[in-house]
């Protein structure tokens, strides 16, 4: 460690952190603690909510659906995102910029707007079906929304920037001379990809997958708007218990389960980025 004197002394530093810490405490930590508390407390400490949950077929069904949809969406995002990241990594920086903005655009768009846009695109009489009808000359109505396909497509649309950026960042840390050296040694482009580019990008792939999966299991609006009746996910189940049956302890218990799963995933993400992380591998 360097011995340089910090710009601010300890107390000044803490004082500057205070407003942010207060904000987080009031609007994040307190409600979270309240939720955990609520899942155990109904006129006294009880495990009633968890017992009900574990014996509820609906809960297990929704949990399975959640994992299945999240897993599929993550894999689709990976398969769609990797080639984009690979292409972006090979562009010169000035040419990469406009494409990066296009990748980032969905980040800055309301998820509601994106969902409705997808309905317009993929609906019964949507743009895609109309285009297909036109091309094949007969009416085509492939069902792409209000079912699992719609939920997954909507989620993939949301996940892609995260996936692309984390893969891109690990591709960009790779030494360009590695590919050149391999090429001089006689390796084909495919061999270079399989033996060098792909293995060295694994930390980014893993990070992208973990981020995407974590985001997926908590999704609410997208499956609600684009999915079918069968595609209820955990967040929608919480909504169901808070607003339909008014069983708040049960809703809280689901939230706690979701929180735990996410917590484990985030911890794994930390592992990927930490010790065996990208920078290490790329050096």
């Amino acid at each position: 460690m360097s011995e340089t004197k910090p710009y601010l002394d300890r107390w000044a530093g803490l004082a500057l952190l205070l407003p942010m810490a207060a904000l987080l405490a009031i609007f994040f930590v307190y409600p979270l603690a309240r939720t955990v508390w609520q899942s155990f407390y109904e006129y006294g400490f009880t495990l009633r909510a968890y017992e009900t949950l574990l014996s509820s077929t609906l809960f297990w069904k929704v949990l399975k659906t959640t994992f299945a949809i999240s897993f599929t969406a993550t894999i689709v995002a990976l398969l769609a995102g990797y080639p984009v990241a690979l292409h972006l990594s090979r562009l010169p920086p000035q040419r990469r910029m406009p494409y990066l903005v296009m990748v980032m655009l969905p980040f800055w768009t309301s998820i509601l707007v994106k969902s409705f846009a997808l309905i317009v695109l993929l609906g019964y009489d949507g743009i895609v079906n109309n285009a297909l009808s036109f091309v094949f000359g007969s009416p085509i109505h492939i069902p792409m929304v209000f079912n699992r396909v719609g939920a997954i497509l909507g989620m993939v649309n949301y996940l892609l920037p995260f996936m692309i950026l984390s893969i891109l960042s690990s591709l960009l840390t790779q030494d360009v001379n590695l590919g050149r050296a391999a090429e001089v040694m006689g390796a084909s482009r495919f061999t270079i990809f399989r033996r060098i580019t792909l293995p060295l990008s694994m930390p980014g792939v893993l990070a992208g997958v973990l981020i995407s999966f974590t985001l997926s299991i908590g999704m609410y609006i997208t499956p609600a708007l684009l999915g079918g009746r069968q595609d209820m996910m955990m967040a929608n189940l919480i909504d169901f218990y808070t607003r339909q049956t008014l069983d708040w302890p049960l809703a809280s218990a689901i939230a706690v389960v979701l929180l735990l799963v996410s917590g484990v995933l985030v911890a794994m993400l930390g592992q990927v980025r930490g010790a065996g992380g990208m920078k290490e591998m790329a050096r």
Binding site: N177, A181, A182, E183, V184, M185, A187, R195, L200
Partner: protein
Amino acid sequence: MQPIARDMIRVTALTRTYGSFNALDAVDLSVAQGEFVTLLGPSGSGKSTLLNLISGMIEPTSGKIEIDGRDATNQPTNQRGLGMVFQNYALMPHMTVFENVAFPLQVRKVPKSEIETRVRDVLRLIQLEHVADRKPKQLSGGQQQRISLARCIVYRPSIILMDEPLGALDKKLREDMQLEIKRLHAELGITMIYVTHDQEEALAMSDRIVLMRKGRIEQQGRPEELYFRPDTLFTADFLGSSNLLMGTIDVSARTLQTAYGNLPLPATRPGEPKSGDGVLMIRPESVRLFSETAPETWSGLQATVRDSIVLGSFVRHFLELPGGKRVIVQEPSGASLSRPERGSTVRVAWGPQDARLLRTDPDFQNL
């Protein structure tokens, strides 16, 4: 050395432009089999550009590249059958040393058992057998560069290109590696094209130096040729140190009229300036100090001693001509050396044939 070897590489009128800028400007170059050729030159002179054109990593704007008699101008890099060593080693960080060296053999579909023996052999050749199972990151810079050399020679390319391979190493290690590379070159008879901007390295290692300047070849030849018989001011200045005296050529008297007197010129040679302005170049080791008179046929000038430093096997005198012009004299040193006193007046002189008349150059105004 073989008297006449065939050309392993021949480039003709090779040009690479970026926009309107010529990074390489109509360069012709041939490299014979087994030759050690160094591309030397200042930063931005086009050394890497020429090397990367040969390897195929950049495409020429115009011109022709032949490798071992084949036209390779449009051949993909991975079919040129070359070897290349990079300054930053370019070892695969996720593979062990063994896997790194085995990689080019796997690419060539060499049978597994043969890969094993060939990798072991080449690691023994560079005396790094014991690190076979380590990752490159666990090695020192010098070891990494030796591995990257091993990875190159293991598949026996007939030509190896090196772009400042020792640039990242410290001085001592660099000298060891220079010897190592020379040894491998001599043992394996591989044709080498070596890029450096370090003139000492170029002088020490090369059969031939190709000195580059602004995308063109300024001069090429054996190290001693370039050093003692430079054709241009740029060459004289880039290699070693030199004394440069500017003046006007007196054609009838065959002298150079300078601010310090009329200096006799060496015998005429092709390519020297015939009249007008010229520069006389004399290497510091060709100049002698005399306390009294110099030999009659020698050129001589009066000078004041400013400093005299012993650099081990030789001694350097820093002198000043009337008017402030600095002159460097280098003599072999010895136990019986008597150094001239600071401030004393001496005569400096040189044999006329040790001087060289060069053209003036707009890049060298203040001589």
